[in-house]
Symmetry: C2
Subunit: 156 residues, 2 copies
């Protein structure tokens, strides 16, 4: 998929109002343990992409526009995925998760943060398609701030 | 996101030629071990979604059109993700992976399979948006056959 196509698709997605995500309130997991594992795996590979982009933003790794764009596209796709693993009965805090009970005490606020997060990720993919690190930096930093904000409130 | 919006977006994606995926030949992983972990996590949550849909297709779990649609959408997003973890120098077969050397011996054929797989997943998401299990079944079975075909050739 060339850059022009990605840009066109990003524009199409935004014009169709896909800045939010489609978090379901019910989801088919067999048990809470598998839901926790699911969300942890999803968050892990999401973080891998964000960390790789962060290395370039910080200058620890040379900026490569093509790699950054691929990472941003995958990060935007993944930004939809983990939340289903939170919406399962019993998938609450325990020995095997750092998720705090505040998530379920503030469910609507948590859900809104996931929608905002997906919007951040889509915006980052859009700006990454342009290939300019100067344009990317402020959008990346805004996304990073929102990552941290959610972790501060909802992760042990 | 309501059903109409998802259908419109699916149509938009297909009309923009996003039946294929954007597998990169280079990707920023720090080491082969992290690339292997990345692709295993991605394949794991992809499989979770496919298995949950399979339970409904087989009748082991009651068909719920909304859950199936959510799973199919997430599966389509995830169908783009694992392949970057294969395209890293040194991320070859070893103690910690079931990937066979045939992947790298037949790299172009493997890549084509990932493109075909993403097309299968997009088609499944499209038909899932219609909510008819009768329409879903043949598309799901075709995708399952292609999953198995790739595993038979490339997974220990």
């Amino acid at each position: 998929m060339n850059k022009l196509t990605i840009t066109a698709v990003t524009t199409a997605l935004l014009s169709f109002g896909i800045a939010g995500n489609a978090m379901a309130d019910k989801h088919a997991f067999n048990d809470a343990e598998s839901a926790v594992e699911y969300r942890q795996n999803a968050l892990s590979i999401m973080r891998d992409n964000f960390a790789a982009m962060g290395d370039m933003v910080k200058g620890d790794v040379a900026f490569d526009a093509a790699i950054f764009q691929q990472r941003a596209e995958d990060f935007a796709r993944l930004s939809h995925i983990p939340w289903a693993g939170f919406s399962v009965d019993g998938a609450m805090p325990g020995d095997n998760t750092d998720a705090l009970p505040e998530i379920w005490d503030n469910w609507d606020e948590f859900k809104q943060r996931t929608v905002d997060f997906t919007a951040d990720a889509e915006k980052l993919a859009e700006v990454a398609a342009g290939g300019s690190l100067d344009d990317i930096k402020p959008v990346f930093m805004a996304a990073a701030k929102n990552c941290k904000g959610c972790h501060d409130n909802y992760k042990d």
